[in-house]
Amino acid sequence: TVTRRLCILKGIYPHEPKHKKKVNKGSTAPRTFYLLKDIKFLLHEPIVNKFREYKVFVRKLRKAYGKSEWSTVDRLKDNKPSYKLDHIVKERYPTFVDALRDLDDALSMCFLFSTFPRTGKCHVQTIQLCRRLTVEFLNYVIASRSLRKVFLSIKGIYYQAEVLGQPVTWITPYTFAHDHPTDVDYRVMATFTEFYTTLLGFVNFRLYQSLNLLYPPKIDGQTDVELKPSEGKEYAMDSESYLEKLSALSASLARVVAPTHEDEAEMDEFPVEGETAEQMDTRKKEEEALEKHKKLFEGLRFFLNREVPREPLAFIIRCFGGQVSWDKSLCIGATYDVSDPSITHQIVDRPQVERQVVGRYYLQPQWVFDSVNAKLCLPVADYFPGVLLPPHLSPFVTEQEGDYVPPEKLKLLAMQRGENPEEESEEEDEEEEEEEDDNDKEEEEDESEKEEEMKLKKMEEQKTQSKKALPVKVTAGKLRLEDKQRLEQEQQSEEKRLAIMMMKKREKYLYKKIMFGKKRKVREANKLAAKRKAHDTALREERKKSKKARRA
């Protein structure tokens, strides 16, 4: 287990040998192989000695307990060996950017551990540390406004932030008690977490430093004062409530240097060689879009009802410049009340709202997520309480050519381009309905025409019979149209087939594999499209039926 811990901490992973048989003494049984170099590298690690010391310490302690030598126990506990992982972090990530690139797993793990109950499974200190670090990180994201994408999946909530140019993605579980599985080795996870907390702490420090924020974070003085009276005196000790206040995510953080209302230090334009004006323009536009995205909720005041998940929503809204509050009894850090007339949006997740206040939108939480992903405030009509919500799409999917694109995404893209597809679609719907009506009429007309034709045919038959024509018939020769294009295509395809016949075996195999993959992709896309079409027609028919029923 010491080796396992070392491997985890030092990031040593097995390797696949080039010649498996040669290495495995002729057998091909699956085994894990480490590089000898790596294992030697582990041996030089000073932390190995620390592990040994700790083992000895545990042995001594057990002995002292057994003999009930309490003074010895105290003395031993005073001298409990401890170790630090700083040098390992530095060694594994020589530059800060390396550390940022590897932050995904660290964040997800810390978020998971911070939701664990304080009993069993792992040390309470670890859980508290994880909670602290994650809250600090969230506060950094808020302060730097670097959140980009959010996604409500059935597993949990995915977030993607762009920290110093690196995309960092993490997932948090929904806030429910965990059903702890029995077939999971928590010691492995604890070892990983041990490393990840160290890493995250250093990363947080550096990130806070980069924004001139104090670390450990301090709530901004003014807001602190504002917060105090509202929560009452008998809440808790200051030291205890501090983390909770921080995790309420409602207050901005204190800076080392007071913010001097930076005028968004404008980027100097450097004409880069080889870069055309167009590229410059696109870059500029992208930057502008980014700035706009960062200020998505600026000026809006949100109120969260108690049934919506407070932390994720507060985090997201604050990340995009909105102000947010909640019921005072729900959590510390509420800044304004429900009755505040300046509230613009109230996030509600119940079928209907009694006693609505005029002057604010009542919306379901999905609106916040969808708006963030769409980079614009979506029309609110689809998200009123009790309304059937539009599908929630993943922002992480970028459709390539030939992939299936759900129609909602198309609509969204059109909206981002500045068109207004809503009206069009409605018009289309109406038109369609009209068309359908027309079709009905046409069908009727068709039927009448058919009847006439039948009559004509009968008359002709009668005529021919009366004439009793000769059995020999001269049929008019059909003009065979030679489609030149088709012929050419056929020829080309035949040429291709013949050329494929001449391919080498390996290339042919590869070619077939590629073509198979392509075909499968097309098939899947077609399947999805067909499914959607069937669903839509079923829906429309249902709607039609209900409409007819209403008319009748």
Binding site: Y13, I154, T169, H178, V184, V308, P391, H392
Partner: protein, 647 residues
């Protein structure tokens, strides 16, 4: 408990607090009936008539209770003091509580002191004053031990000192007051990026979720019932979607994900247990893989369309041959007939019934001789078809008749028999009777010699016959395997023998083996030689066609796997750079096979046309292919009983 001051001097033997103040006993003569049993549970006396013993040791009897329920009730109703009457457990007597006693009970129930006069808030009296006195409280002199150092302590201290000296006890570590977190990357040293980091393969990031993982996905991503069932039956490793997409109508309804911890744990396992490897993803445009070949259009002429169908045979047409002039075609079939066709009109000129399966036919390549060799069962018939120029076939007959038997009979492996009159009228001139069934016959280029292959396992498999001398010989002393087919070199005195896996080349003049070609096939079916004589193609039953360049190597220059099923025959064109192969899949593939005179340039092989037409019968397709001697036309005979001409 405090005894009320009013009842002082009373000795309490019983410990019942209520009755401790001894009540004035109701009956004077029984003076002191105090019970002496002590503090025991009185239930022990339940079954006895007495409840204990008095001071003199006599029994105290329980009072006689003769009241029934009704009496009890009446007493309860009538007796005004009933509520203050209690039973003394120790004596069993009923006692009426006095007013004082009732008061006491009330006070105790309220949690007050029992004594009415007791004041709990009296001012405290300092017994030991705060003022320091000049005299000690006691006059005892100090002990000696308070003046001398303690031996036990000394022992303990010396033990500790020894332990410290020996290093068993370490001083408490000074508190480490460096902050836990600091700017670790303050001095990023480019030298610290070692080879390790360059070699390091970063773990791939976890896959980001797609639309199907949303809590409210578009309806097309939801699985139908069958798909769900299929998903459940799949192995977890095989599943394309890790979770079944589900739709919840609002965020409130979304439950916790049960496998969250599992997934994190699996990720941890992946991170430290999975071997990592950089894999180059093949990023090739599939169009680039297709070799650039000259366009078939530029390689014309070659047969492209089916022109004629020769119908007449009722069974599979096994073999084809064409006259050197290209006017007549002969075909042998399983229905026991040999038919002669005119090529241009598809007219059957003549039908020869031979009464057996015709395995092979071969037209004499000599244009001055009009003779066809036909393999029927154990004999080879030499047939004069009597077609074409009368002079020509008359000359052939004369040539055959001019044979004069030699003086001395030589021992021959076969028998040469002249045809009977009846047979002669049909056109058969000579019969060469073998001991076993003959499966192939082929002419030498000059038209005098021909070779036949007997399906046998001995050294008698291949025989070479001379028509003019009616003489046969067996060229081989030893059998080298099952011979499939034989071939004469068109120009040089070479003889090709194809066994199952090898093609052997013999020099007929030197009478020795010159080459042995490895075909890389499982079972050679047919063989054809380029008119130039330097290239050979071999068709095999494992659907391969091997092209040999005799000057290059004994291994195939190229193995073509064009056909999907076994190849039955291959053929070269005599003038055009074309070769064709017919296969069981019913197709004839015509390829352009250019051989350059320049020895440095390798032959160019390009498939130019796939010809279809034959109907699959009995799981067989094309049985024989043959080129027209002068035109770029190809004949094919099939299992459907037809011969087809493609031009």
């Amino acid at each position: 408990l405090l005894t009320p001051p009013g009842t002082q001097g009373c000795v309490c033997l019983t410990r019942c607090p209520l009755l401790s103040p001894h009540p004035p006993l109701p009956s004077a003569p029984l003076q002191d009936i105090r019970n002496t049993v002590g503090n025991i549970p009185m239930e022990w006396y339940q079954d006895f008539p007495h409840v204990g013993y008095d001071l003199e040791g006599k029994r105290i009897y329980k009072p006689i209770r003769n009241k029934d329920e009704l009496d009890m009730f009446l007493e309860k109703m009538e007796n005004p003091d009933y509520w203050r009457t209690v039973q003394d457990k120790m004596t069993g007597a009923d006692i009426k509580l006095t007013d004082e006693q009732v008061d006491l009970v009330h006070r105790l129930q309220k949690g007050q002191f029992g004594d009415v006069h007791f004041n709990p808030y009296e001012p405290a009296v300092d017994f030991f004053t705060h003022e320091v006195m000049i005299h000690p409280v006691t006059n005892r002199p100090a002990d000696k031990r308070s003046f001398i150092p303690s031996l036990i302590e000394k022992e303990k201290v010396s033990k500790l000192v020894h332990a410290i000296k020996m290093g068993w006890i370490k001083p408490r570590k000074p508190k480490d007051d460096t902050p836990t977190y600091y700017d670790l990357w303050a001095h990023e040293d480019p030298n610290s990026i070692l080879g390790r980091h360059k070699m390091h393969v970063p773990a791939p990031k976890m896959k980001l979720p797609g639309h199907e993982e949303s809590y409210n996905p578009p309806p097309e991503y939801l699985l139908s019932e069958e798909e769900k069932l299929a998903w459940e039956q799949q192995e977890p490793a095989e599943r394309k979607l890790p979770v079944v997409p589900q739709q919840y109508r609002c965020l409130r309804a979304v439950p916790a994900y049960a496998r969250f911890i599992h997934e994190r744990f699996e990720r941890c396992l992946d991170l430290y247990l999975c071997p990592r490897q950089r894999k180059m993803r093949v990023n090739v445009d599939p169009e680039d893989l297709i070799p650039k070949l000259p366009k078939p259009r530029d390689l014309q002429p070659f047969p492209t369309t089916q022109a004629l169908v020769y119908r007449g045979h009722t069974s599979l047409v096994r073999c084809l041959s064409i006259s050197p002039s290209g006017q007549w075609l002969v075909s042998g079939s399983d229905d026991g007939t040999v038919r002669f066709w005119e090529v241009c009109t598809a007219r059957c000129m003549k039908t020869l019934t031979v009464g057996g399966v015709v395995k092979s036919v071969a037209w004499n390549p000599n244009p001055t001789v009009c003779l066809v060799a036909v393999c029927v069962e154990q004999s080879v018939l030499l047939v004069n078809p009597c077609l074409g120029d009368k002079l020509l076939y008359g000359a052939t007959d004369q040539l055959l008749e001019s044979y004069a038997a030699p003086e001395e009979e030589r021992v021959q492996p076969v028998q040469w028999v002249t045809a009977t009159v009846e047979e002669h009228s049909k056109g058969v001139r000579l019969l060469v009777q073998h001991s076993k069934a003959v499966k192939q016959v082929t002419w030498h280029g000059k038209g005098d010699y021909f070779a036949s292959v007997v399906s046998d396992n001995s050294n008698m498999q291949v025989l070479i016959h001379q028509t003019s001398k009616r003489w046969s010989q067996n060229p081989f002393r030893k059998s080298k395997g099952l011979v499939q087919c034989v071939l004469f070199h068109p120009i040089r005195p070479y003889f090709f023998v194809a066994t199952q896996r090898y093609v052997r080349v013999y020099n007929l003049l030197k009478q020795e083996l010159t080459k042995k070609l490895m075909t890389n096939c499982k079972w050679v079916s047919s063989m054809a030689i380029h008119p130039g004589g330097d290239n050979i193609i071999c068709g095999s039953y494992d659907s391969k066609l091997a092209w040999f360049d005799l000057d290059l190597s004994t291994r195939p220059y190229q193995l073509l796997r064009h056909h999907k099923r076994a190849l039955r025959s291959v053929a070269f064109h005599r003038h055009y750079p074309l070769f064709a192969s017919g296969s069981d899949d019913g197709t004839v593939i015509v390829c352009h096979g250019m051989v350059y005179n320049d020895l440095l340039q390798n032959p160019l092989l390009v498939p130019v046309k796939v010809l279809k037409g034959h109907v699959m019968t009995l799981d067989l397709g094309v049985l024989d292919v043959l080129f027209h001697p002068t035109q770029p036309w190809v004949f094919s005979s099939g299992a459907d009983g037809t011969v087809r001409l493609y031009t």
